[in-house]
């Protein structure tokens, strides 16, 4: 191994003698003896000693080009063109910012559809994205721990909250935590199981709520990308807006 390492370093530094070219690279400004298919058949050889200047300058200049000029150019184009997206797609009601269309938030009241469980901070912490990182065979994932609800417990709570039988099938996204902990969406099946609870809490017919869910269900993008989904914040906002008379009085 040592031999090989030495020969590797040797080859890099002084080049292989097998090539039958001068080992000393500093005197090779004259055309290389054996060339063909090069950019130019008589291309001069670059000297090693002359490479330090381009090395230092290129690091600095190209860092400026890609780390300063490029982002500034992107800002200059995108900020006027797409100000809402560039600003984080924030949702406002009146003067108050109530969230971002893209970032999930936690809902616990029965009159709102609820997001998936979250492992971001203490739940939907927008400054601490992440998943549980628990392996599927890790007992903590199934059974939980002191400060962590396992899948068993989450399933039990979900069924109780939505008035489901203890063996009623529930969609897996309702009891698993997303990768970011900020998943804004739930599956249509998950929304479907929450409809009767939300309708009851708001004194609405299930049909009215189901229609609203259907209106806010997005199919796969362009018909084939990704999964059907329901944005929870969007749906809950729509619930508050279109069914304003039934909205609970405590709402801000």
């Amino acid at each position: 191994m040592l031999n090989i390492t030495v020969s590797l370093v040797g080859t890099i530094l002084i080049e292989s003698p097998n090539w039958k070219i001068p080992a000393n690279m500093s005197d090779s400004d004259e055309p290389a003896e054996i060339t063909s298919q090069c950019a130019s058949p008589r291309a001069p050889r670059a000297r090693l000693s002359e490479q330090l200047r381009p090395a230092i300058l290129s690091v600095l200049v190209l860092t400026l080009l890609t780390g300063c000029v490029f982002p500034l150019l992107l800002f200059a184009i995108a900020r006027p063109l797409l100000p809402r997206q560039a600003g984080g797609t924030l949702v406002t009601r009146g003067a108050a910012v109530i969230g971002s269309e893209l970032i999930g938030q936690e809902f616990t009241r029965p009159e709102y559809f609820q997001s998936r469980p979250s492992a971001a901070g203490s739940g939907y912490d927008g400054t601490s994205s992440g998943g549980t990182n628990l392996g599927p065979n890790n007992p903590k994932l199934m059974n939980g721990a002191a400060d962590f609800a396992g899948i068993r417990q989450l399933a039990e709570e979900y069924r109780k909250r939505n008035g489901l039988a203890s063996d009623a099938p529930i969609p897996i996204d309702a009891v698993t935590r997303s990768g970011s902990g900020l998943d804004p969406d739930i599956t249509p099946a998950n929304a479907e199981l929450q409809i009767s609870r939300v309708a009851r809490a708001r004194g609405l017919s299930e049909q009215a709520v189901r229609r609203l869910v259907a209106n806010h269900t997005k199919g796969p993008q362009f018909g084939f990308l990704g999964n059907p989904r329901v944005s929870v914040l969007e749906l809950n906002l729509a619930l508050d807006q279109s069914l304003n008379q039934a909205a609970p009085p405590t709402l801000r």
């Binding site: 590797l8 080049e15 860092t63 109530i98 938030q105 400054t127 897996i172 997303s178 969406d185």
Partner: protein, 562 residues
């Protein structure tokens, strides 16, 4: 629907391979392209400013030293930016930066981003300032990606030329890669991402009052500046901790799909560039088809492991595939596609959490990284990864049928064989030794804070495989922000970048000096499906021989034991 998406992905990659490959060949050979009128003046200006003499050619040794010097320079600059980030103006507020930027973390991150690894031992939103992300990380995403592409060009040239003492000029390749390829594509791609919702601002973290009257703080930043180039440059490190799973980094299925295309199209096209420049187009297509075959096998296995109802949930009446650690907008389908693409291309811009994958799913990702990113592979690095396996195949095939070991007219004598074997052995040597050290030392085992047993071993093996392959994705249950992991993973990243590139360039220098032997009846043809099958078999065989014991104790044991 899932399968349609997989199919469309492969069709687009293969459909773009030829036009993009021929364009890359023109960039590599300094031929005219439609972008010349705009870019030529910038190119000349840069050569003058940097003192580059574009007419000069470099031997493989000088080429490598320039690549190394450039990497060292970038590492120093990035280290300085990171370590002095507290003096940089702009957000986010200090209270959110809970992970201190220690010297070892800064050094690890500097090495990581300048080697296209972008292994992240930190979470972006609670460690880095906006300007450190832009001036530091965005710049290195460009530069490391373009430098990798330059080495790929030099490697192809070495095999394409005969009687040549040189393989090109590193600075010319670097600047042309940046101007003709990486920068323009990134500008357009980044704008599409912003249109889809990726933020680009320098605003403080937004305090919102949610619908239920709680408060939520949402991290902001110049996210879009990083999110496209991280994929195009096959880097992969995200702006936020959750990387591609974060809805700001990857808001829609379209942004995810575009990101996957940004990763895979150019490395796949480089095989066409390779075939075109060596005047053996079929040889390039054969290697590309080997890649596609491996890709499909991995996709099918991982898809099966993740879409099956998790066996751990049997009896709980829970319906659906494994959604733990996955986002609803991607579902299992786009998550698995992304996992396979990122594991194969030294990119690591994951959009789901690999620690939550089923054992067989983890096995597939791990194997792809351990094989050395041969399927598409890193930008530039992918070419020599697969060609090295082709050379091993030629050698083995030559031994079996008693034919002269030759590839594309280049003789593989004992000296070449030495470089090839060293190349093949260096990855298992580094990965397995470092994994061994980690599991027998307290400092190494201290990283296992989430999972234990076979999955703990898989996490450690995954970490070193990922760093050696310059991939950067993690099974994030491993707490890798410690002096031990910051130092040992940096070693793997450096060997994976410069060690492998040195061997590849040396070999290409030797090939450049050779004449091209005429094809005779004694030549093992390298552009037939049979040769493709031989390469496929060699990859599987070499991979199995090197890693089966380690894999058996990790994911395979977890799979069988539960």
């Amino acid at each position: 629907m899932r399968w349609l998406e997989y199919l469309v992905f492969l069709v687009i990659v293969l459909g773009l391979a030829r036009p993009v490959g021929l364009y890359l060949a023109r960039v590599c050979q300094r031929q005219r392209t439609f972008l010349d009128p705009a870019l030529h003046p910038v190119e000349s200006l840069l050569y003058r400013m940097l003192g580059v003499r574009p007419e000069q050619e470099m031997s493989a040794g000088v080429y490598f030293i320039c690549f190394l010097l450039f990497g060292v320079g970038c590492t120093i600059v990035l280290f300085l930016v990171l370590i002095s980030q507290r003096w940089l103006p702009g957000g986010p507020a200090d209270t959110y930066l809970t992970t201190p930027m220690t010297t070892d973390l800064a050094a690890n991150t500097a090495v990581s981003f300048t080697t296209t690894t972008t292994w992240q031992a930190y979470g972006g939103e609670n460690t880095l300032r906006y300007l450190a992300q832009v001036i530091g990380l965005v710049a290195q995403n460009f530069l490391a990606g373009a430098a990798g592409l330059a080495v790929g060009f030099a490697f192809i040239r070495g095999i394409a030329r005969e009687h040549s003492a040189t393989v090109g000029n590193f600075w010319v390749d670097l600047i042309r890669s940046l101007l003709w390829v990486v920068l323009p594509v990134t500008l357009v791609g980044s704008l599409v991402l912003i249109w889809q919702g990726v933020p680009l601002n320098m605003a403080p973290y937004t305090l919102v009052h949610t619908l239920e009257g709680r408060t939520q703080t949402i991290a902001q930043g110049p996210v879009a500046a990083l999110e496209f180039i991280k994929n195009l440059g096959t880097n992969g490190g995200g702006f936020f901790n959750a990387n591609g799973a974060h809805p700001y980094a990857n808001p829609t299925p379209l942004t995810n799909f575009l990101g996957m295309l940004a990763i895979a199209v150019m490395p796949a096209s480089l095989m066409i560039t390779f075939g075109h420049m060596t005047h053996r187009p079929a040889a390039g297509w054969v290697l590309l088809m080997v890649m596609v075959a491996l890709f499909v096998v991995g996709l099918v296995v991982c898809n099966w492991a993740e879409t099956a109802p998790p066996p751990q949930l049997a009896g709980l009446h829970i319906v659906g595939g494994n959604m733990e650690g996955k986002e609803v907008r991607f579902g299992v389908g786009e998550s698995v596609l992304t996992a396979i693409v990122t594991s194969n291309t030294s990119t690591g811009s994951y959009n789901s959490m690999y620690d939550s994958y089923q054992p067989l799913g983890v096995l597939v990702l791990l194997v792809f990284m351990l094989l050395g990113e041969v399927v598409f592979g890193g930008l530039g690095a992918g070419v020599y990864s697969i060609v090295m396996f082709a050379l091993v195949s030629v050698f083995l095939g030559g031994l079996m049928v008693g034919r002269t070991p030759e590839y594309l007219g280049k003789k593989i004598s004992s000296a070449e064989t030495r470089w090839i074997v060293l190349y093949a052995l260096i990855t298992p040597a580094v990965v397995l030794v470092l994994t061994g050290i980690a599991i027998v030392t307290d400092a190494g085992r201290a990283g296992l804070v989430t999972n234990f047993g076979p999955r703990g071993l898989a996490e450690i093996l995954f970490a070193y495989a990922s760093c050696m392959a310059n991939n950067g994705q993690a099974m994030a249950g491993l707490n890798a922000n410690s002096v031990f992991y910051n130092d040992t993973t940096a070693i793997a990243m450096l060997v994976g970048r410069y060690g492998l590139a040195a061997l590849a360039l040396m070999l290409s220098g030797r090939f450049a000096a050779q004449r091209r032997a005429p094809t005779t009846a004694g030549t093992l043809p390298s552009d037939t499906p049979i040769f493709g099958a031989l390469v496929f078999g060699t990859i599987v065989l070499v991979g199995a021989m090197c890693y089966f014991p380690a894999l058996a104790l990790g994911p395979i044991m977890e799979f069988l034991g539960h």
